[in-house]
């Protein structure tokens, strides 16, 4: 962690770099803090080299942290994309199920002492089951009763709307409005000179893993091929014998399962509140708009891209502008390239 130098007031970054790169301590004087105010002329080039190297590493940290955030965005967006691309259900309650996954993990950890890592598959399965149930209860009837696709989409949106209210307030009712959270793997991990929290790296790794797994599933397995066929042409797929009755609830469930899993991962690193889901729904919407409705790899790329854009934006301007930036990008893409940035 932080290295100590003589007077205990070392700035960790500077001291570490100093020792590692082998610069003579005399270049900075015997205490780094004094070194800031008196810069001996002979060490100017050493200083600027250090600064450049530090800047390079800062860039690395910056982009890497953007990617980490983007990994989560991608995971959430993939689930949403699956539901919209396949079933034309724009589930704006998606984030609420993320929140449920987070609360479940927190409860398991705080009350029963179960490791959050174990909860990753558990939250997936629980939320998947919930998704299948919700599809059967709510959306199946819509498919039967809606006269055309536009109306079905509109009604699906409204049902999702209702779900959003229901789930968010249910969580608020069950667990109250207090902030909750727990510590898991918060020790920093060093990669070169850059420092990240252990749990963030874990979250990133798992997010990439599951996104990749989903894409592989869709591309290489028979089930996946069936799903993609359905996405391309619903009637054609049915003609070839693909069972929409079973596939739709399953895919809806997988979508929600991914969301719940993302929530479980997020709970390790962030605070949990009933309203934590909405921003992720919005971000997922922006991501699938960027990547193109229905494109899985587009969602992955879009998520990572958005994370990096946000990180860079926050660095150069203000975090306050982050939202403005995201929404502007969103609206610009919707207006100018409605098929998404990566669409063919």
């Amino acid at each position: 962690m932080a290295a100590e130098s003589g007077d205990g007031q070392a700035q960790p970054g500077q001291a570490r770099l100093e020792i590692k790169k082998g610069f003579p301590r005399s270049a900075f004087g015997s205490s780094p803090s004094r070194g800031r105010h008196q810069r001996p002329g002979k060490a100017v080039s050493a200083v600027s080299l250090v600064q450049t190297l530090m800047t390079l590493f800062s860039w690395f940290e910056l982009i890497a942290s953007g990617l980490i955030t983007g990994g989560i965005y991608a995971l959430v967006a993939l689930g949403l994309n699956l539901q919209y691309g396949l079933m034309r259900i724009l589930n704006i309650a998606h984030g609420e199920f993320l929140m449920l996954g987070a609360y479940l993990t927190w409860m398991a950890h705080a009350v029963w002492g179960i490791s959050p890592l174990l909860m990753v598959p558990v939250s997936f399965l629980v939320l998947m089951a919930l998704g299948v149930l919700i599809h059967k209860l709510c959306f199946r009837r819509l498919t039967a009763t809606s006269p055309n696709l536009d109306i079905f989409e509109a009604r699906g949106l409204m049902v999702a709307f209702g779900l959003m209210f229901l789930v968010q307030n249910f969580a608020s009712f069950m667990w109250g409005g207090d902030l909750r959270g727990y510590d898991y793997l918060t020790e920093p991990v060093k990669i070169g000179e850059a420092q990240f929290a252990g749990n963030k790296l874990l979250v990133f790794g798992l997010a990439l893993l599951f996104s990749g797994a989903l894409i592989a599933l869709l591309r290489f397995t028979l089930l996946g091929k069936g799903v993609r066929a359905l996405m391309q042409s619903p009637t054609g797929a049915q003609l070839v014998g693909i069972d929409t009755q079973r596939l739709h609830p399953l895919m809806f469930g997988i979508g929600l399962g991914l969301s719940g899993m993302a929530g479980c991962l997020l709970s390790m690193a962030y605070t949990i509140t009933p309203s934590m889901g909405e921003p992720y729904t919005v971000t997922a919407l922006i991501v699938i708009t960027l990547g193109g409705f229905g494109s899985m790899s587009g969602a992955l790329a879009g998520g990572l891209l958005l994370g990096v854009i946000e990180a860079l934006g926050m660095h150069f301007t203000n975090p306050s502008l982050k939202a403005l930036l995201s929404y502007s990008v969103f609206i610009a893409v919707l207006l100018l390239r409605p098929r998404g940035l990566f669409a063919k």
């Binding site: 962690m1 932080a2 100590e4 205990g8 007031q9 700035q11 960790p12 970054g13 500077q14 803090s33 800031r36 530090m54 800047t55 800062s58 940290e61 910056l62 942290s65 953007g66 955030t69 409860m107 705080a110 009350v111 608020s172 069950m174 667990w175 109250g176 409005g177 207090d178 902030l179 959270g181 510590d183 918060t186 920093p188 420092q195 990240f196 929290a197 963030k200 962030y270 605070t271 509140t273 309203s275 921003p279 990180a311 926050m314 660095h315 203000n318 975090p319 306050s320 982050k322 939202a323």
Partner: protein, 399 residues
Amino acid sequence: MVQPSKRQLLKGAAAAVGAAAFAPSLFAQASPVRIGYAIARTGPWTGGAQVSQEPNYLLWAEQQNAAGGLDVKGNRRPIELISSDDRSDIETCVRSYEKLMGSDKVDLILPPWGSNANFAVAPLANRMGYPVLAPTALSRKLVELKLPNFFLLLQQPDRMVGALVDMLVANGVKTVAVIYVDDLFGLENFSALKVALRSTGIQVVEEKSYPGDIKDLSPVLRSIKDKNPEAFIGLSYPPDTILASKQSKEIGFNPRFYYASVGTAFQLYRNVMTPAGAEGVLGMGSWNSKTSPAAKAYFDAHTKKFGGKEPDRWASGHCWAGLEILQAAVAKVGLERKAIRDYIAGNTHRTIIGDIKFTGSENTATPGTVGQWQNGEFEVVWPQKVATAKLSLVKPAWK
């Protein structure tokens, strides 16, 4: 339901007060003093409201009733609390107070939590002639409304920030980095900070604002870490205070002075960061149990009643002080609201956090203060005259 016993404690406390109000043997003669309020029990304001405010209302009413009731010019009358959840929603809040003052015609009201809600309720209460002592309202604009019935107990931004700057100057700090939350609190404190820094020689190496619902401050903190300031000032709310602290630990950002305004005074901060992790962190705090024997008594009573939940070291104390003032006023002049108002405005009050005196709506007697975590307690370290401990100049690495 996985609520910790807090809900049950609250319900139990409210029931106890209600029961006490009706206990026949003691209170057969006296009609109750009806005190109404709306407070956040759900929604974003809940965290603050349930730490700094509502527990104090309940504790106070219970203590008064245990002593036989509120002293109204010599007569003891039981307190009946009439409360509701404002759902962190201004319209609900306004409606609740309209009901309390307009239809229910309660004797006294206690304020809701936070500046926004107080902005809405203050003119209403003023119009209906109910004096209000607000412990969680912070804004010069509220003072500028010049409402005769409205009194702000907290020190306003210029004082708190002024105290911080004085402390930094006295310790030879030359560079600071500032982040502030994107709302009235953040902005007012930031403007006050800039004004206070102008005449010093301190250079601001970075100033960034952020939205209140931010999830990730690490890009900002990383760029601040690069610039290597001696002091970090976060004008933030509890969620972002904790976020900034945790992420500073993650990226190894550990300046000599680390200040985060709101949230550091909460027991929650120590729980989340661990006492070792919180060591040396500065923030807005103006009292602890060492401030006065009465403060210690209050602290112990609070902790005992709410199962180990401690009051926070800033607004909670001011809230209790406000209740003390109200109590003294009613004891002296009874329940006539105009007289209560005049009593509050015209006197210097001795409270657990020291003397309080109002100039217009503002409490001008309590100085701006800075607090610091030392050995698991949030001590007041500036200015000397109210300090409970000396400022520690060594901020250890985050643990």
